[in-house]
Symmetry: C2
């Protein structure tokens, strides 16, 4: 089909199934992050640049598509090396905590992750609670052990959640409430960690 400028503009572009599925999934992540899982498949298809019917060639239902969005967003987000580095006592505790939270926030302070995590939390998704259970047991608890070993005083889990929440709240302010926040959360993280360690 020749366009006005003479170039050929095919109305349909055939993609390999893998590429097309990836394109739809990426659009779904962005779309559901913005409007939540109540967003319609028609608007999603328009945003992805495909027809609504095509969605159902790659995902059997809307539920299966949202499931794929969950997996994409959650999977591989927590780097197992973080725990090893948290426990590497060759480095001062303060530096380890700052490094961890800079890495952690670099991983989750994205528009897609923060918002989909919050949508899923409100919807009562189980994956959400499992993720936070993992954070508490596999990250915060060991972190508490390191703090106890270095300072001689073991913080309670509620103290650790307070440290964690104060830092994560930066991302909530920015991506959920769309309030202005420092471009780089690093200094705020350092200050929060310093305050936390200064206390007995």
């Amino acid at each position: 089909m020749p366009a006005l400028d003479g170039t050929v503009v095919p109305r349909r572009r055939r993609l390999e199934p893998e590429a097309r599925r990836e394109q739809i999934l990426a659009a779904a992540v962005a779309w559901f992050a913005e409007v939540g899982f109540a967003g319609t498949t028609r608007d999603l298809a328009r945003r992805a640049g495909v027809t609504q019917a095509l969605l159902y060639k790659y995902f059997a239902s809307k539920a299966e598509l949202t499931e794929a969005v969950f997996e994409r967003v959650y999977l591989g987000r927590l780097d197992p090396r973080w725990l090893d580095e948290l426990r590497d006592r060759r480095m001062p505790l303060h530096a380890r905590l700052c490094r961890f939270y800079r890495q952690y926030t670099a991983a989750i302070f994205t528009y897609e992750w923060m918002r989909i995590f919050m949508w899923a939390g409100l919807a009562g998704d189980a994956l959400n609670r499992r993720y936070l259970g993992h954070v508490g047991e596999r990250l915060l608890a060991p972190m508490g052990q390191e703090i106890a070993a270095a300072t001689g005083h073991a913080p309670g889990m509620e103290d650790l959640w307070n440290l964690h929440g104060g830092i994560v709240y930066i991302g909530i302010r920015r991506f959920i409430y769309r309030l202005p926040t420092p471009e780089d959360p690093g200094p705020a993280i350092d200050a929060a960690v310093a305050r936390f360690l200064r206390a007995p």
Copy 2:
């Protein structure tokens, strides 16, 4: 209409418009808090114990109903006396901050408020940002002045948001993520305030 047990069960109960509107609004707050504003008017009506058509005798549209839910949830939630008490220097700073955050969390740590606030935040509601702007300018900023006056060192706004976020995150864990938290947030608040004031 006589029921099986002989008592008269009127199929329709007439209520004064004020009482009926209040009943619907209360049900709407609870319902939208649970499932978000994408919840259907039919399910809401069933929950309120009225017919769906009746909703539209008291609210012109679903948008007007959600607007009323917003007002109900937001309005009068911030007590102006809190600011006065924060500035009352006859009491030690530490005690003032603890008292404030105990009152503040007592006001907002409810299933309805926390969840509707989060739903509205994700939806991009303007009332949400206005509320948090108010918190920053009318509560956190004066709080910073009091801390500066008492300790000789003025905290930055980002530090204050960190204190605030760490405490609010208790409510987020409980009502948004449905994770177990201490029944009484008081001790955690005291500890967070103590840590914050101990730092220079």
